[in-house]
């Protein structure tokens, strides 16, 4: 019965993930119908490739550690403190996560690069150092830690810590012995996500890294799209796949050791206004961090979208309304991309919720290596090169019975692949924390297993579902690596349109890219604010 729930997600992943990826790897490694595994060794012994591997790994590690150090205090503040403007702030820190990577790269270049904000002020430039990449990664992933860890933290009963204090534990010891172990699965999950995102980082590194720094994903894109060297791209895809598989295995192992049934409480009961100088200083520090890390780069982005040669104005925005302003860059007005992106993202979110929801329901009970393997499998799309997936879609889903190349559904399908892991990751911890006897109580009162799930699990995970939907929607909106291959020229998405504008020279194109990015940022901010509202409206039920 439970395994039956897995059929749909497994079929989905087999058809829209495994098949395209295997096909493109096969195309790279096969010659005249014969597998040429010797190519793997040949590629991997090249010093330039080894440099890429080494840089990819250490920058991902450094980014993860830096993100945790900077974001964990933020998670605490969001979980435990009540302060005015909290909803808005939560949405603000989430915005970077949904921005196209290319835009983030550009925003940081404008902030830290030659003639940038800091250069003008103090003559500080970071674009030639790895710090620009690391900071952009923290900017991106701050929300991952705050939402994943903070979400669970806000539902942990503070009285547990109080009980430890009464038993003689100091403030820090109580946190370390009681709260930290309970948080560990969420911290591990967040750290894993950050590591995966930064390990496979694409747009940010391409812009800020220049020729000096290149990650695997950047190299795969270069080999596929620029050098048309499919064998090398295939080998690098396999390397990335193996590395991600290894990381996921470690993660599954740590999570298995740590997962426990938690007593969750209403977050509204756990948050209270900060008291004392220490807590106010902590809140102030977090606010300052958000200001410097998130608001300033976004501010620079907005400033640039308005900074026309004739002073500040909306010229770039007006230019977005017509296809002709850019010569032959677009078949349709760039503004159409907003509607496309929204439509695609809504459909992708629905697909991700259905597939991820079924998978999470199937995985609720921890049993057997099969379930654990499936658990890890669901995470793979996060780690496999989006470029490979997108290109794989093009070469596999182009003939009957599955000729989707001309269908609009192709884009949401690719975007949903990235959304599913978010849905599963958000729902599973909460589902597993639901007391089994609540389901039994429902069953004894006459609820069938399906009905019990609907009546007990679903209301309890509604908050998690909404968070999951928000994440899925956000990553769908911002997805770039796969979409750039499969979005049709007359139906570009916002990130694709931005990249197309950035790829052309000229002040108008650059300004329009900034304007379109600003619009995307606002769309995301509004969607997220709506989501935050729903969350608080329903919180009374818990």
């Amino acid at each position: 019965m439970r395994l039956g729930l897995m059929v749909v997600p497994v079929a989905f992943f087999a058809l829209f993930f495994a098949y395209p990826v295997v096909a493109i790897v096969g195309r790279g490694l096969k010659a005249d119908g014969v597998w040429r595994f010797g190519r793997i060794g040949a590629v991997l012994s090249r010093p330039d490739i080894l440099d890429v591997l080494w840089f990819t790994t250490w920058q991902a590690l450094a980014s993860t550690v830096l993100t945790l150090v900077i974001a964990l205090p933020g998670a605490y503040v969001f979980a435990r403190f009540a302060f005015p403007g909290k909803q808005l702030l939560r949405a603000v820190v989430t915005v970077p996560f949904v921005l196209p990577t290319v835009v983030v790269g550009t925003a940081f270049l404008a902030l830290l690069g030659r003639g940038g904000f800091l250069d003008e002020l103090w003559g500080v430039r970071l674009d030639t150092t790895v710090w620009a990449i690391l900071l952009a990664h923290v900017f991106f992933n701050y929300a991952v830690v705050v939402r994943t860890v903070g979400g669970l933290w806000s539902q942990l009963d503070p009285r547990q810590e109080e009980a430890a204090r009464v038993l003689g534990a100091g403030r820090f010891a109580a946190w370390r012995r009681v709260t930290l172990p309970a948080l560990a699965p969420a911290v591990a999950a967040a750290a894993l996500m950050v590591f995966l995102f930064t390990f496979t980082s694409f747009g940010v590194v391409q812009i800020l890294g220049g020729p000096a720094y290149s990650t695997l994903e950047v190299e795969i894109y270069r080999q596929t799209a620029q050098l048309l060297d499919l064998p090398t791209a295939a080998v690098l895809t396999l390397v990335q796949f193996a590395a991600v598989g290894g990381i996921l295995a470690v993660h599954a192992w740590t999570v298995r050791r740590r997962e426990t049934v938690l007593k969750l409480v209403d977050p509204a009961q756990t948050a209270r206004p900060p008291r004392g100088a220490g807590q106010r200083a902590l809140l102030g520090g977090v606010l300052l961090t958000v200001l410097l890390l998130v608001v300033v780069p976004l501010g620079v982005l907005v400033e640039r979208s308005l900074d026309t040669s004739g002073g500040y104005g909306f010229d770039f925005y007006r230019a977005l309304q017509s296809a002709d302003a850019n010569g032959s860059t677009f078949l349709v007005p760039p503004l159409d991309a907003i509607g496309n992106s929204m439509r695609y993202a809504v459909v992708a979110t629905l697909i991700a919720l259905v597939i991820g929801g079924l998978a999470a329901a199937a995985l609720t009970r921890r049993a057997g290596p099969l379930v654990r393997g499936f658990d890890a499998l669901l995470m793979l799309p996060l780690g496999v090169s989006a470029v490979t997936v997108g290109f794989g879609f093009l070469i596999t889903l182009d003939e009957p019975p599955l000729d989707l190349r001309t269908s609009w559904i192709l884009v949401p399908l690719a975007q949903a692949l990235v959304g599913v892991p978010f849905v599963v990751r958000s729902m599973l911890p909460v589902l597993r924390a639901v007391d089994e006897r609540l389901r039994e109580a429902a069953a004894v009162l006459g609820a069938s297993p399906l009905r019990a799930w609907r009546e007990v699990d679903l209301p309890l995970v509604r908050r998690a579902v909404l968070v999951a939907a928000g994440f899925a929607f956000a990553v769908s909106l911002g997805e770039f690596g796969a979409t750039v291959f499969i979005a049709r020229p007359d139906n570009p998405t916002l990130p694709v349109a931005v990249a197309r504008l950035l790829g052309r020279s000229g002040e108008l194109n650059y300004g329009q890219a900034m304007a379109l990015s600003t619009i995307l940022m606002l769309v995301c901010a509004v969607s997220l604010l709506l989501l935050e509202r729903i969350r608080t409206d329903r919180s009374g039920e818990f």
Binding site: A443, V444, L445, A447, S448, R451, A452, V456
Partner: protein, 341 residues
């Protein structure tokens, strides 16, 4: 109504239920009593269908329940810690079972209101379950279990988490309520007081087997074994050899009722049957710790030889701690049990 036939449940190597037979008649209240780990909760879960049987059958009104999943058995179960649905208010919790059975809304609301009146929480329908006290939660859980009019109501440690005075009051309320409604009840508890006050019939379990079954009075008067006696709180147990109407024990000769089994045995002397007299009468003992229970007092007595004794006496007759007294035994308050082992 309910018949359990040689029900067996194993958890790995451990046998939680070992060929248990049990019957519950219509309108009967049966209480399963036993220490934790004796298999009593497993028995409830097996009847409910939450725990699959490794052997034996569960029959309701003569029908084998094996093919029926939990939600089709039409039973009521009140969980130990209530398990109220935290995301629903009191009324929605009570009406849950009715909703699952497709009862129309108006009827549901009416019945939920009725049940809340019945359990002494009139008008509590809109309250959040998190705002309820332990006793109130217990009442809501009861109302929720009763609402779909289950064939058999099962209670798992129904009063376990409540304080003593509340528990004593509620147990009387429950018995009166079940009597009025004619509910058939199978309850599980580790508290003998609760079991004896609630039940028409008591079943004592030990290590997955039934150690004794009978009316509260029967079990109380004639425990079937030293285990049952100890579980009921009787500690005056001693190895003995019965000859005629006297038993030879470490406390000396103790009179036993006529017709008692002869030979080696375990002898129980209820504290009420331990008579305290002057130092010259019978077994010499030194009075120890005293426990005050209302108008009765329990005194621990230390004889020069043999295990300590408990005696129950009136307030006025209570010896001072350290006083030397003499002890005689009332044959009507002694019970000859099978030898230990």
């Amino acid at each position: 109504m309910l018949a359990v036939e040689s029900a067996t449940v194993r958890f790995g190597k451990r046998t939680a239920l070992d060929a248990v037979d049990l019957e519950v008649a219509d309108h009967e209240i049966v209480c399963v009593l036993g220490p934790s780990g004796s298999g009593k909760s497993t028995l409830l879960r097996a009847v409910a269908g939450l725990q699959p049987l490794d052997g034996g059958r569960v029959l309701l009104d003569g029908a084998d329940q094996a093919p029926l999943p939990v939600h089709r058995r039409g039973l009521g179960l009140m969980f130990q810690d209530h398990q109220l649905f935290p995301h629903r208010d009191v009324g929605a919790n009570v009406a849950f079972g009715l909703r699952m059975h497709g009862v129309p809304r108006a009827e549901r609301d009416r019945r939920a209101g009725e049940l809340l009146d019945l359990v002494g929480l009139p008008g509590a329908g809109r309250r959040a379950v998190a705002a309820l006290s332990g006793g109130e939660q217990q009442r809501v859980a009861l109302a929720r279990a009763l609402a779909p009019r289950p064939k058999l109501l099962m209670l798992d440690e129904p009063l376990g988490q409540l304080d003593r005075s509340l528990r004593e009051r509620l147990v009387v309320e429950l018995r009166t309520l079940f009597g009025r409604l004619g509910t058939t009840v199978l309850a599980v508890t580790h508290d003998q007081g609760e079991a004896f006050a609630l039940a028409d019939r008591v079943v004592v379990m030990r290590d997955g087997r039934i150690a004794q079954a009978g009316t509260p009075l029967e079990v109380w008067r004639r425990p079937a074994s030293a285990f049952v006696a100890r579980f009921l709180g009787f500690d005056n147990l001693v190895d003995a050899t019965v000859t005629g109407t006297a038993a030879d024990t470490a406390w000396g000769k103790v009179p036993v009722p006529e017709g008692s089994p002869q030979g080696d045995c375990e002898l129980l002397v209820r504290p009420g049957g331990v008579r305290i007299g002057g130092p010259a009468d019978g077994l010499r003992c030194t009075a120890g710790v005293r426990t005050f229970r209302g108008h009765r007092v329990t005194v621990v007595l230390h004889p020069g030889d043999g295990p300590a004794l408990e005696a129950e006496c009136g307030l006025r007759d209570t010896p001072d701690e350290g006083a030397v007294v003499g002890v005689t035994f009332d044959p009507d308050e002694t019970v000859v049990l099978p030898p230990a082992g």
